[in-house]
């Protein structure tokens, strides 16, 4: 049976960290520098976990030996007995750290910056190593939830491909030589007052970093600071400026909105605050009785998104046509747009806009119009104007001063940098944490110009495309390794505290900037703490600091609402700025829902995560509508040559129901040249098609190449048929089998029991059945809340040590996710209603998997869990055949990565790592159940409701998943199951699933006929 990482084998790691405890900061270690001379430290550099008994054996590792032994013994037919190998115990030498009980996890609050914006997190630490990320309930952007990127970030921390050493001129250097050189650069620059120095960062919200840069710019008045974030949000920024004459940040309060209109905005799925948006939005969809009310969502979008899938009315419209739609809507509501006459795009049904206008006017003050990042500033401005005219501004939509430390038009900023280089005004370029060689728009010709700079210094997590072209490359500390701070979408500041000393001697941007500022040797901790010490009175600072660290938020830092006024020149400006795309094919470039801007390209969890709706993994593709595919004469996998702005890429087609016609979506973040062993060479690089002006949408010429490329999905394997009729076949079957039950709010009010089965849930049985009179674990999933964001999938993967199998294995249908998001369509493929359904082990009371197992490796617990005992499993796979829900996963090969030592500390020590030939599946996170039960029993009490939270439930931004004891009538889950919308999947098989669903409701506008 597979060995799992247990605490005892990492006592030694802990011991090194124990040494670090001697450092001045008591609870958190700062760095390994003071240890750099010791033999342990050198050992530590070689392999992250010295004295690991597994590595001590030279040559053939014990694991390999066991593998061979197993194979040869199987051939010889004798493995009657296996003797346990002798193990070593390596306890601490010195006293243990405070609060530290071996075998007990600790949680620390920190935050993860993404695109500059922070999401508050609680990170679980086992024996000094972070293993699992959870949302921080007291953080406004999280409220306890975490998105796929946060969940997967812990894998990036342990990524063996991260940059590990300082590189100078292509050779291995050291931090100390960097310090020496930096001294010289600094001396040079001081003489020139910083002339020629340029700093390039991503979006910065960190008050400390901004302070550092500003004081650096004070030292070097001739130096300049540029910003470049691949997802630069320029449209949002400029849209606000267009509307209000100044940069402001917008805060949406979806929990107060009755009607929401999205103008190509995926506000539930991406962007700062998406988790909070999802939470607030779903609050208005929690229908508990026929009397409950529900919000209404209109989505106008080109690319199908999870937000569009939640829409009560969704209109597929080319991205270039959204502006005309917005103008027409604005005019309908009485906003002066300045345009002569807004021509409504032909694709908009005639009754749409009038009905929408009436609906909005009916709900004045409780509406939100939100524009998407792909849309030009004018659409954002129009959205602001509509919100204003509907009296929503100040109620459902509030404005604050900019959250960013220095809001600029980043496209312009990068353009200026390149112009300066061309003018020969730049000789030292410091690039902090971004990868512009990969992500800069093609028309700025960044690479040619970068090479003209005399000294190029780059700090990043990976030795990436930019690092390759820089003189100095300094490995960056992961956010779980470094001190920092960052603001959330509403301005709330979190202090980022490290959970582990840098594995690869990484440095934070703070530390590099400190070197440039002549404060070398200042640690990240000192820098951040010093900054905050300057902001707060000395008295009570320690308490403030401890509380901020403990809570994960700095109290009172949310930015206050700011009164804004539509600028008087808005109408004329709006008319000027607008520009339609006209006819022809358009291309929409979007951030990828799984690898983001490409910075997660080497994260196997995210690469293998099926993208929402398309279920594509391990690739990006050109998404087109079925009609467009027919028009182009292509089907899935056919490679198109896309030519736009003198650049071209080859892209395989994926037919996406509900996509706007004559439009084509391509996700960014792929085609990395130097991502690492996982991400290099995966997909194609669509940044080549970006331009600084209007980067996300442009016209495109499309040409068939006649080539074919294998795209891999976890669902819709059968979309091969022309026009995708086989997707339809799946969805039709799903409907016949009542897998997704749906009604309009109106129908639900008339017929609250519409989802109930006639007698199905308690079908008669010949057998008496078991009584579950103690705890009876069950789960309810509210399909009305679930947005299909995938966070649960990655959370489960992280919690349960689920391996990544790779593209070829996914192609064979061997993905390992214990929880999956199924997507079904209804009502044609041009604009179908889209339903997401989270499927995990149903924990059937009459589990069909159990009675076919020949060795009782899957049995039922007295609390109703369908147990899977990995060490007993012999791998006949009969259980999977007999599972109607197909939630079981099999280790066809040795999928668990035992070879990469750096991945071992990542594993959850409370969950067995499965070996080859073993079936596995969702356990309702039994490790959490057992921990809570043991804790309760020691205190001589029952487990309380909410005490056990499964990993999927914990991270769910909409709280669609609720777990608990169904025998306790007061538990949340029992109350949900008592609702009339409750139903089970395939209950006609008399499986009696413990996981049930609450039927989905839609709230369409009766005035719109579809």
């Amino acid at each position: 049976m597979g060995r799992k990482e247990k605490g005892r084998s990492t006592f030694d790691l802990v011991q090194i960290q124990a040494k670090l405890e001697q450092a001045p900061e008591k609870r958190f270690w700062r760095g390994l520098e003071e240890l750099a001379g010791t033999p342990e430290y050198r050992n530590f550099l070689q392999c992250e976990f010295p004295h690991d008994p597994r590595q001590d054996e030279k040559g053939v590792s014990r694991r390999d030996a066991l593998k061979w032994m197993a194979a040869s013994a199987a051939l010889a037919g004798l493995t009657a007995c296996t003797k346990l190998p002798t193990e070593k115990i390596v306890p601490y030498a010195q006293q243990r750290p405070e609060n530290f009980v071996p075998g007990k996890p600790l949680f620390y609050a920190t935050a993860m910056p993404l695109g500059g914006y922070a999401t508050g997190l609680l990170v679980e630490s086992h024996m000094g190593r972070p293993t699992k990320v959870e949302g921080n309930p007291s953080h406004p952007a999280s409220l306890g939830a975490a998105d796929v990127f946060a969940q997967a970030s812990v894998l990036t921390l342990y990524d063996p491909d991260r940059a590990q050493v300082v590189i100078y001129d292509g050779r291995i250097g050291s931090w100390s030589t960097f310090l020496t050189s930096a001294e010289q650069y600094r001396a040079d620059l001081l003489l020139r007052k910083g002339a020629g120095l340029r700093i390039l960062t991503g979006t910065v919200t960190s008050p400390t970093l901004a302070d550092q840069i500003n004081s650096l710019l004070a030292q070097f008045p001739q130096a300049k600071w540029h910003q470049h974030e691949p997802c630069n949000r320029d449209s949002t920024r400029e849209g606000a400026k267009l509307a209000f004459g100044e940069y402001v940040s917008t805060v949406y309060h979806f929990d107060q909105a009755d009607v929401v209109v999205s103008l190509d905005a995926d506000f539930l799925g991406s962007g700062p605050g998406a988790l909070r948006h999802a939470h607030d939005f779903s609050e208005r969809r929690r229908v508990t009785s026929p009397q409950s009310s529900m919000n209404r969502l209109y989505v106008v979008e080109s690319t199908p998104t999870i937000t569009g899938a939640m829409a009560d009315h969704r209109l597929p419209l080319r991205a270039g046509d959204v502006e005309a739609f917005a103008r027409a809507l604005a005019e309908g509501l009485g906003v002066k747009t300045g345009a002569v006459a807004a021509a409504v795009p032909a694709r908009v049904p005639p009754d749409w806009i009038p009905a929408l206008v009436r609906d909005l006017e009916k709900h004045r003050g409780a509406c939100i119009i939100v524009a998407g990042e792909q849309q030009p500033p004018v659409v954002h401005a129009l959205a602001h104007a509509i919100n204003d005219v509907l009296a929503s501004a100040g109620k459902t939509v509030t404005y604050t001063g900019p959250v960013e430390a220095n809001p600029v038009n980043q496209s312009t900023s990068l353009g200026e940098l390149v112009a300066d280089i061309q003018a020969g005004q730049v000789d030292t370029l410091v690039i902090l944490g971004v990868n512009p060689v990969y992500s800069a728009p093609a028309d700025v010709h960044f690479v040619q110009n970068l090479l003209k700079v005399r000294t190029r210094i780059h700090l990043s997590l990976y030795d990436d495309e930019t690092a390759e072209l820089c003189h100095w490359h300094v490995p960056e500390a992961h956010y779980l390794e470094a001190w920092s701070d960052a603001r959330a979408y509403d301005g709330t500041v979190s202090i980022l505290q490290p959970l582990i000393s840098p594995l690869y001697d990484g440095k934070s941007a703070h530390e590099v900037l400190a070197v440039l500022a002549g404060q070398e040797g200042l640690s990240g901790h000192d820098i951040v703490r010093d900054y905050w010490q300057r902001q707060k009175p000395a008295a009570g600072f320690e308490a403030f600091w401890q509380r901020s660290l403990n809570d994960g938020v700095v109290a009172g830092t949310a930015l206050p609402a700011k009164p804004v006024k539509l600028s008087g020149t808005f109408a004329t400006q709006a008319a000027k700025v607008g520009g339609s795309q006209g006819a022809g094919m358009e291309i929409v470039l979007r951030l990828d829902p799984t690898v983001w801007d490409g910075s997660f390209a080497n994260n196997g969890w995210l690469q293998e995560l099926p993208k929402p709706l398309t279920k594509l993994t391990w690739d990006n593709a050109a998404l087109v509508s079925p009609a467009t595919a027919l028009k182009l004469g292509v089907t899935n996998g056919d490679v198109l040559k896309l030519r736009s702005r003198e650049q071209e890429v080859d892209a395989p087609v994926w037919i996406t129901p509900g996509h706007a016609d004559d439009s084509l979506t391509v996700h960014l973040g792929y085609g990395r040249r130097r991502a690492g062993r996982v991400g290099t060479g995966v997909g194609f690089n669509a940044y080549k098609l970006c331009a600084s002006e209007r980067p996300w949408v442009s016209r495109v010429e499309v040409q068939k190449t006649g080539k074919n490329y294998q795209l891999v999905t976890t669902q819709h394997h059968h979309i091969m048929g022309k026009e995708g009729e086989e997707v339809e076949e799946e969805s039709v079957a799903a409907r016949q089998r009542s897998l997704v039950r749906v009604a309009t709010l109106e129908k639900f009010r008339q017929e609250p029991d519409f989802a109930r089965e006639e007698g199905g849930e308690k079908a008669p049985s010949l057998y008496p059945g078991y009584k579950y009179d103690g705890n009876a674990w069950g789960m309810a999933i509210d399909l009305n809340s679930c947005i299909g964001c995938n966070a649960c999938v990655v959370a489960c993967q992280s919690e349960n040590n689920i391996p990544v199998v790779g593209k070829d294995q996914v192609a064979r249908g061997r993905e390992m996710h214990w929880i999956r998001v199924d997507t079904y369509f209804h009502g044609g493929l041009q604009n179908p209603e889209t339903y997401n359904e989270v499927v995990l082990c149903m924990q059937c009371e009459n589990a069909p998997c159990e009675y076919v197992c020949p060795v009782a490796a899957t049995v039922h617990s007295p609390e109703g869990l369908n147990e899977m005992i990995y060490n007993r499993c012999v791998g006949t796979r009969y259980c999977s055949n007999n599972c109607p829900y197909k939630v079981r996963r099999f280790n066809f090969y040795l999928y668990a990565d035992w070879k990469t030592p750096s991945l071992e500390p990542l594993r959850n020590p409370d969950v067995t790592v499965r070996s080859r030939g073993v079936m596995e599946k969702c356990t309702y996170c039994v490790q959490r159940i057992n921990a809570a039960k043991i804790a309760a029993e020691k205190e001589d009490r029952e487990v309380g409701d909410g005490e056990i939270v499964t990993a999927c439930q914990q991270t769910c931004p909409t709280q669609a998943i609720v777990f608990g004891n169904i025998n306790d009538p007061n538990s949340r889950v029992a109350k949900l199951k008592a609702q009339s919308r409750n139903y089970g999947l395939l209950t006609d098989l008399n499986t009696r699933p413990r996981t049930t669903y609450l039927a989905k409701l839609r709230n369409p506008n009766p005035e719109i006929k579809e």
């Binding site: 012999v874 006949t876 066809f892």
Partner: protein, 460 residues
């Protein structure tokens, strides 16, 4: 008598079960000489070489399998069972004819069983060996196979006796054991014959050791015949139970296309169908190659063809009822399963199976001419075996690939290793069979002597 003359008379009248003119001595000498006196034929060496090469392919495929895991096959979720189970059911089906011929026809006092029972039994054993290998190989962790056996272990755990896979373990091992005993008991007097005919010391000792000192005593014969009859009485229900249990592997499950009460009878019929086809496939070249047309006459071939026809009709009934029930039951799952079989991605396989199992053999075998046409029978027997293999493929794969959850539908594409293991199992079977015809009497000598005696008495 020349074979040509025999064929001529055969068409006109029912051919005899034993060509006339044979005595105790001629039969004894003819059959034992194949083993003892004849030089190993070139053809045998060639056939053996081919079979052995395939057997080595099996060893290589299994070695690689042990090293890498079952991932080398095309299986996945949802199609977690692939070729391994298809081959298992196919082989175990083939393994049904031997025991049925020996046991069932013995109970029915059918005289035509005598000349075919021995090699049919041997075929059964080798088919069971080939079959028995697959459940072990298809396990994710085959080195733990013994967990399926009940024994007091250090864990205090037991097999899960409700699982049809455990039933399989007992059914197949019982079937293998009883078949081996039956075969060995039948061989006992013939081993004594070989012992007494053998001229070299090694053969004397070997056959003598195996013959256990059989001396043909009247008392021994009395007990022997009783034991043989009892074994036949035990083996007949056993043979029915084994394929019934194998069909339980499917019927006990909830999968549409598996969960059906018609499976046991139609599996048993299908097993006999493919088993008799295999007996024909083996008998036709054997009689030709070793000149055994006097013993395995056209009567035998025709009788087997009739059994093919009868069991084939049962199988056809099974297909029809399966389709009928899918629509009659009103179950949406069953209906889409059948529609998917007939029109889905694996429809060509289904129609090929209908052609091979129903259309060709069941139309051809109505004709007495074809039943007595050796070449046609040989071709039909091969077609039936292919058809039966495809039937198992259709049952295993097309039922699984689209079951309850449309989101979990998938496809199965066999890999090179699937094919290698399948071909290798044929190699194992043929290797054993070639060794058998070289070293053991392929026709029961003592029973043929009895047949001569019987014919004599009938004449008298």
């Amino acid at each position: 008598m020349s074979p040509d003359g025999l064929e001529k008379t055969a068409v006109e009248a029912r051919p005899p079960v034993l060509a006339p003119g044979h005595t105790y001595a001629s039969i004894t000498d003819k059959i034992s000489s194949i083993v003892l006196l004849q030089k190993t034929k070139r053809g045998w060496w060639f056939g053996f070489a081919v079979a052995f090469t395939l057997f080595m392919v099996l060893n290589f495929a299994v070695g690689y399998l042990m090293l890498m895991g079952v991932g080398i096959w095309g299986i996945n979720i949802p199609i977690a069972w692939g070729f391994a189970i298809v081959n298992f059911v196919w082989w175990i089906g083939i393994g049904h004819a031997g025991t049925l011929i020996s046991a069932f026809l013995l109970l029915m006092r059918q005289a035509w069983r005598q000349s075919i029972n021995r090699f049919a039994e041997a075929m059964t054993l080798f088919a069971v060996a080939s079959a028995g290998m697959f459940p072990l190989l298809h396990m994710g962790r085959p080195w733990l196979f013994y967990w399926l056996m009940p024994y007091p272990d250090t864990m205090g755990t037991w097999p899960q006796f409700r699982s049809p896979l455990v039933w399989d373990v007992f059914a197949v091992s019982t079937y293998g054991t009883i078949s081996l005993l039956f075969w060995f008991v039948g061989l006992l007097p013939d081993l004594a014959t070989l012992r007494d005919r053998a001229s070299n010391r090694l053969a004397q000792i070997t056959y003598g050791f195996l013959a256990m000192g059989w001396r043909g005593s009247a008392r021994h014969w009395q007990r022997y015949e009783m034991a043989y009859l009892l074994l036949a009485g035990l083996a007949t229900p056993l043979v029915v139970s084994v394929h019934t249990v194998v069909s339980f592997d499917f019927t006990i499950a909830v999968v549409p296309g598996w969960h059906s009460t018609i499976f046991p009878p139609y599996f048993v019929a299908g097993a006999i169908y493919s088993g008799f086809a295999m007996v024909l496939t083996l008998a036709i070249p054997l009689r030709q190659f070793y000149g055994l047309e006097d013993f395995i006459t056209l009567r035998h071939l025709e009788n087997m063809a009739k059994i093919l026809l009868a069991t084939g009709l049962i199988v056809a009934y099974g297909y029809v009822m399966e389709t009928f029930m899918a629509f009659y039951s009103g179950s949406t799952y069953d209906r889409s399963m059948i529609m998917n079989r007939m029109t889905g991605p694996y429809a060509p396989v289904y129609w090929l199976l209908i052609t091979g199992n129903i259309a060709i053999p069941l139309t051809a075998l109505w004709s007495a001419k074809i039943r007595r046409n050796v070449a046609a029978l040989f071709v039909i027997s091969l077609i039936v075996q292919m058809g039966m293999w495809l039937e198992r493929f259709v049952i295993v794969v097309t039922s699984l690939h689209r079951d309850f959850m449309p989101s979990a539908w998938g496809m199965y594409y066999p890999t090179i290793w699937d094919w290698a293991t399948f071909a290798g199992s044929i190699g194992l079977f043929l290797t054993l069979f070639f060794l058998f015809i070289r070293f053991l009497p392929m026709i029961s000598i003592f029973e043929m002597r009895g047949l001569v005696h019987q014919v004599k008495e009938e004449k008298a």
